[in-house]
């Protein structure tokens, strides 16, 4: 058995596989399949200061090798999360990451403060959600705004702070640098790429929100490229995600520069994907005589 443990900003994960925010709820439903301790961690459904109902349905559409979603951050609010979900979650033997989204700086700061006094292990700033009208992705698409929000939240955040980046930008490396320069402990990427599908008979967008976020295997090559670009630009660790579907994809993303991984969409076709991917990584490491998964991180040999 190879060593699958990874360390992201001082937080120890028993393996690099983290369930991606929004695809795993608060873990309860998937604990029916396997103990949550099999996972490196769980990035919980994005929470906001108050309960949110989310967008009207339909919220999902299929695309070639991918899906669009526009849930719109439906969630019970940060207080409910801390009181009702976290006590159970923090006993599962896996790293718990709170994923937070707000409309204003104050929203983010308030949540960071509350969560800093809770049992969560890390806080992930979701400044890249494309499916809400105010806030969300707006904070995530320029270097200035990313620097500003990171700076604003940093003093309130006593937990390791992850900034989650949007791929809907011209230069993700500079944006990652802005987050790093204002004190982010890690970055995670990529969130979904904005997309659209239209029903040709009704001429209506399939998703009621008109646009949705593209995730799944289709975006994998874009995610690998962005993780690699960001790895070249920052020193803080990267949690890589976007379309990882097989253990090979996982290895590829680690080689590109990721220290840990999140997987989302693949869970919908195979709830057991994290287990299978961990097994696959382990077999790959053993076969190649590599002792620890962290040796893969950033080991890409680019062509000069």
């Amino acid at each position: 058995m190879a060593d699958l443990r990874v360390n992201v900003a001082g937080v120890k994960f028993q393996n690099p596989l983290i369930a991606a925010s929004g695809t795993f709820g608060f873990g309860e439903e998937y604990s029916e399949f396997y103990p949550l301790s099999k996972l490196g961690g769980i990035s919980c459904k994005g929470i906001t200061p108050k309960k949110r109902d989310g967008n009207p349905p339909p919220r999902i559409a299929e695309t070639p090798s991918g899906i669009l979603n526009a849930v719109g951050l439906q969630n019970p609010g940060v207080d409910y999360f801390i009181k009702e979900e976290l006590p159970r979650l923090s006993k599962q033997g896996t790293v718990i990451i709170a994923n937070v989204a707000g409309n204003t700086y104050e929203d983010y700061c308030e949540m960071a403060e509350k969560l800093s006094n809770s049992e969560v292990d890390m806080i992930e700033l979701n400044i890249s959600c494309p499916n809400v009208k105010a806030g969300g992705v707006q904070f995530g698409t320029s270097c200035e705004s990313v620097a500003a929000i990171t700076k604003a939240v940093r003093p309130y955040c006593k937990k390791p702070l992850i900034v989650k980046l949007s791929p809907n930008v011209t230069d993700i490396a500079s944006i990652a640098k802005s987050a790093e320069s204002e004190g982010a402990d890690a970055v995670s990427l990529i969130n979904t790429i904005t997309g659209m599908r239209i029903d040709i008979n009704t001429r209506r967008p399939i998703i009621k929100n008109n646009t949705g976020g593209l995730s799944g295997a289709a975006i994998f090559p874009v995610a690998v490229r962005m993780v690699w670009q960001v790895a070249n630009a920052v020193k803080i660790p990267i949690i890589g995600m976007g379309g990882i579907s097989t253990w090979k994809d996982a290895v590829e993303m680690l080689i590109a520069g990721a220290t840990a991984l999140q997987i989302g969409t693949v869970l919908f076709s195979d709830p057991y994907a994290p287990i299978k991917i961990n097994d696959g990584i382990n077999a790959f490491l053993e076969k190649n005589g590599i002792k620890s998964v962290s040796e893969l991180t950033g080991s890409i040999r680019i062509w000069e």
Partner: protein, 250 residues
């Protein structure tokens, strides 16, 4: 376990009307827990999302799944061959609550009829009201005749049974029954819910929404509901697909 994934062998396959398929798949573990009105989530080769299909019946060691070709996924599914394995996640969701000693009306429209069959078989007394586009789209009539004391048939074009909608026979018989269970297109469900309400009869309806995870984690399968006077979105895959009619905000 409440639900799990499993490979289920396709042991029998029939086209019961043009574009409507009747699959029997084998997997005792999954079936043993299955309740009427629940569904399974089927992996379709080449597709990212599973497809939700209601459990039509559990019988002779087989689970029966009846579906119509509606798009690419159901088309690929219809091409599976006897002997192939289907990757199924289930049984999922909250189904119909069928109580002892009660008399039920099962009202189904088109491809909304399959989930009612298993429920009808569990009811002590059952009347079925089944509506179809036309005579060549009629499915499961004999099955309901076996399971119910009476079956009313309607077609939109009058090519078989009563010419009109399921609401016509339902309005006539609603006085006789204790409760209504319905599945079909949303406008039909809305009309049925209204009839039930007017007649002060409890009514359960099965809703449809596009799904991701199927287990309640991803929140994409939202259905507007009003439960205990609070409006919000409930999840068709976990709180549903069957809701009490008065809970659904149409």
């Amino acid at each position: 376990m409440k639900y799990d994934t499993a490979l289920c062998r396709l042991v029998e396959k029939k086209e019961i009307a043009k574009g409507f398929f009747d699959f029997r798949v084998q997997n005792t573990d999954l079936m043993n827990n299955a309740l009427p009105g629940q569904f399974v989530h089927i992996l379709v080769p080449g597709k990212t999302l599973r497809r939700p299909i209601s459990i039509c019946d559990v019988e002779n060691g087989c689970m029966r799944l009846v579906f119509e070709i509606r798009g690419e996924g159901t088309d690929i599914l219809s091409q599976m061959k006897v002997g192939d394995d289907l990757d199924i996640l289930g049984p999922l969701g909250t189904g119909f609550k069928i109580e002892k000693g009660k008399k039920y009306a099962f009202v189904g429209g088109g491809i909304g009829t399959p989930p009612l069959l298993y429920a009808a078989k569990q009811a002590d007394t059952a009347i079925a009201v089944l509506g179809f586009r036309s005579s060549d789209a009629i499915i499961l009539k004999e099955d309901f005749e076996k399971a119910c004391s009476k079956v009313y048939l309607t077609t939109d074009d009058g090519s078989a049974g009563h010419h009109g909608f399921v609401t016509d026979p339902l309005s006539e018989i609603i006085g006789e029954v204790d409760e209504v269970c319905a599945c079909g297109p949303t406008p039909m469900l809305k009309a049925i819910a209204l009839i039930a309400q007017k007649n002060a009869k409890p009514c359960q309806i099965s809703m449809e929404e596009r799904m991701g995870c199927g287990v309640g984690a991803c929140l994409v399968c939202a259905c507007k509901t009003k439960i205990n006077n609070v409006e919000g979105y409930s999840h068709v895959c976990k709180a549903g697909p069957v809701f009490r009619a008065e809970e659904v905000v149409f």
